[in-house]
């Protein structure tokens, strides 16, 4: 807290901090690639999860609407991209057209989910949104007959990668001595989108709109009595959250080149919600921390548990996949006991007080 306070007082220190953070973010993929290219890929997935968590944070963290089917919007964004940039329909639109369309379609689905659930809260809302998420997945699984829209469980393959100013993000390119693999290029793309989404979130939170959401989260009746149109504000929260999910979905399609309904199961919704809750609902930095931890820790386990066991016991006793769920559950229990508001709980935003001291 003090460090942040003094940073605010010294603009020079602030800039040094920004340059350091920017430098390490730019260098990160090359450092990771030197350890193993898989780690860059894992980082990219982590950024996708950050995007999803930030989107869900608007709905759950700001407006206080428990959504258990959030991954549906990710799916919608992903399928919009896949259908408009793959041989499935023979359509190959550029990414800068499809990503906004994906966001808009996801936004529409957000309103579609929001409208009938306006009067629901808490557990009831959770059940309806959970159902919504499943409905979307089941539709994707079955919309292959009589008209083949989604290609069913087989999914959509050979989705176009992103092309940007003549650079194909799907292939390797070299700039002088540096080799930019497809994964590394996507890292930079995702990084840019992530920074944009963080900026949008920060500004929304610290605005009239963000305060209205928080008012609804705290006390919906009082919010209405203060003149907040809770219907519109809740729909707006669903719509904004959904469009962030849609953008993340589109990028997922482009990076993976292949999607199927299996990527959008309930576990994914639960995972994203866990990231939001673990990090600290309503706190943007907390949510990012939650997403990073829950994306990386399982991967670190995957790469360390088996070798460790081999060294200790000479054979692998516990499968890392099993251990992962065990630790995940344990982490959640411990969290709820000791830090129920998350790792970085939403803090009071201190403002300069103009009050004269007596």
């Amino acid at each position: 807290m003090n460090a942040i306070g003094s940073m605010r007082r010294h603009p020079a220190a602030k800039w040094v901090g920004i340059v350091l953070i920017a430098g390490s973010l730019l260098a990160l993929p090359f450092v990771l690639a030197s350890v193993g290219t898989a780690w860059v890929r894992i980082t990219n997935l982590a950024i996708l999860y950050i995007l999803l968590s930030l989107g869900l944070n608007i709905v759950v963290g700001f407006a206080g609407l428990l959504d258990l089917g959030y991954i549906a919007f990710y799916a919608v964004g992903a399928y919009v991209y896949a259908l408009l940039a793959s041989p499935h329909f023979g359509v190959h639109w550029p990414w800068w057209a499809i990503l906004p369309i994906g966001a808009a379609v996801a936004c529409l689905f957000g309103v579609l989910l929001g409208t009938p659930t306006l009067k629901l809260r808490g557990d009831y809302l959770a059940i309806v949104t959970l159902g919504f998420g499943e409905i979307i997945r089941i539709f994707l699984n079955n919309l292959s007959d009589p008209f083949n829209l989604t290609n069913g469980p087989n999914g959509i393959t050979t989705i176009d990668s992103i092309h940007f100013f003549g650079v194909d993000f799907g292939t390797m390119s070299r700039v002088g001595p540096l080799a930019f693999s497809s994964t590394i290029k996507y890292y930079y793309f995702l990084l840019a989108v992530m920074l944009l989404v963080i900026a949008v979130n920060l500004r929304l939170q610290d605005s009239r709109i963000g305060r209205a959401w928080e008012a609804i989260r705290e006390d919906e009746l009082a919010a209405r009595a203060m003149g907040i149109n809770t219907r519109n504000m809740k729909l707006l929260a669903f719509a904004m959250g959904a469009s962030f999910g849609g953008v993340a979905g589109g990028m997922f399609s482009a990076i993976q080149n292949f999607i199927s309904p299996e990527s959008f199961i309930l576990t994914e919704s639960v995972m994203v919600l866990s990231m939001v809750v673990l990090g600290g609902m309503g706190n943007i930095w907390g949510v990012i921390l939650g997403a990073v931890l829950l994306s990386f820790v399982p991967e670190v386990l995957r790469y360390t548990v088996t070798p460790l066991q081999m060294k200790l016991f000479g054979r692998a006793i516990v499968d890392p996949e099993v251990l992962r769920m065990l630790l995940f559950g344990l982490a959640m229990v411990v969290m709820m006991l000791f830090r129920p508001a998350g790792l970085l709980p939403s803090a009071v935003r201190k403002r300069e007080l103009a009050a004269p001291k007596p």
Partner: protein, 279 residues
């Protein structure tokens, strides 16, 4: 506001005509009528369960009346939602304080400005000069209002961490932030000590002097009788008396409602008789 205001001649801000509200078989309000003159402090008293808060909830759009009409500044409030009523200029506080508990005092008041500001998502994300100016104005006004109710130094404290009396003040500040023409206060003095009540009384008089009409539900009879221009007495959802505080204190129907023998057996804790504490 002039010093000696004509009591009934002032233009009516709020006219309530024969409001009836039923909950299943229970008639919570039965053909209640009254009107509040511009710049008045209008008291609403009655024993527990008389329908005072129900009347508040009907006025602020939380409940919808079954019969009767409400006219606010000449405009009929038909099927108006709470947010629309706040926009029209009625702000309220709650009997059991309903602040935004996990937000700071200042933010609570800033939220009150929502209805008088217009920044959209686009404006908020792009931080246009208009939005920035509006944000500054919101924050400045919120500071002013905290100062106005006397809790300027507590702006950065979470609402839930404020002392009880300060929470009541904050609710008033938040309601004032919506620029109301009519401020409806549901037992603002509940739980306050004598000093706090004196302060509250000063605050309410100041609000009235600033041109805001006040509708006040209050149990502290001394406060009501000393402060209000007119008083409406409800009992079992019916209007049993209305008029100047002096006349209300002597009204036999009011005395019976507060002391009445048939109710003494059913209601072991009647509210104090008006005038009782004045001696």
């Amino acid at each position: 506001m002039t010093e000696a205001r004509p009591v009934a001649a002032a233009a009516a801000v709020l006219e309530v005509q024969a409001i009836t509200k039923r909950f299943g078989g229970l008639t919570a309000l039965s053909e209640v009528s009254f009107s509040i003159g511009e710049g008045d402090i209008y008291g609403l008293i009655g024993p527990n369960g008389a329908g005072k808060t129900t009347l508040f909830n009907v006025l602020t759009g939380i409940y919808r009346q079954d019969e009767g009409t409400i006219r606010f500044r000449g405009e009929m409030l038909r099927n108006a939602t709470p947010d629309r009523i706040a926009r029209l200029g009625i702000a309220r506080t709650f009997q059991n304080i309903r602040l935004f508990a996990n937000l700071s005092a200042l933010e609570n008041v800033m939220i009150g400005r929502h209805v008088r500001t217009r920044a959209t998502v686009v404006g908020a994300v792009l931080r246009t000069p208009a939005t920035r100016a509006e944000e500054q104005a919101i924050e400045r006004r919120a500071h002013e209002l905290l100062d106005y109710v006397g809790i300027a130094a507590r702006g950065n404290v979470l609402a839930k961490h404020l002392a009880y009396g300060d929470q009541r003040r904050l609710e008033i500040a938040r309601a004032l932030a919506t620029d109301p023409k009519l401020l409806a206060l549901d037992e603002p003095a509940a739980g306050m000590n004598a000093t706090e009540k004196v302060e509250l009384r000063k605050l309410l008089e100041r609000i009235r002097a600033d041109g805001i009409t006040i509708l006040l539900i209050e149990h502290d009879v001394k406060l009501v009788m000393g402060l209000c221009d007119r008083v409406l007495v409800l009992d079992y959802g019916r209007r049993i008396a209305e008029g100047l505080p002096k006349a209300i204190q002597k009204d036999p129907a009011v005395i019976e409602a507060y002391l009445g023998t048939p109710r003494a057996t059913t209601d072991p804790h009647p509210d104090p008789l008006p005038g009782e504490r004045e001696k």
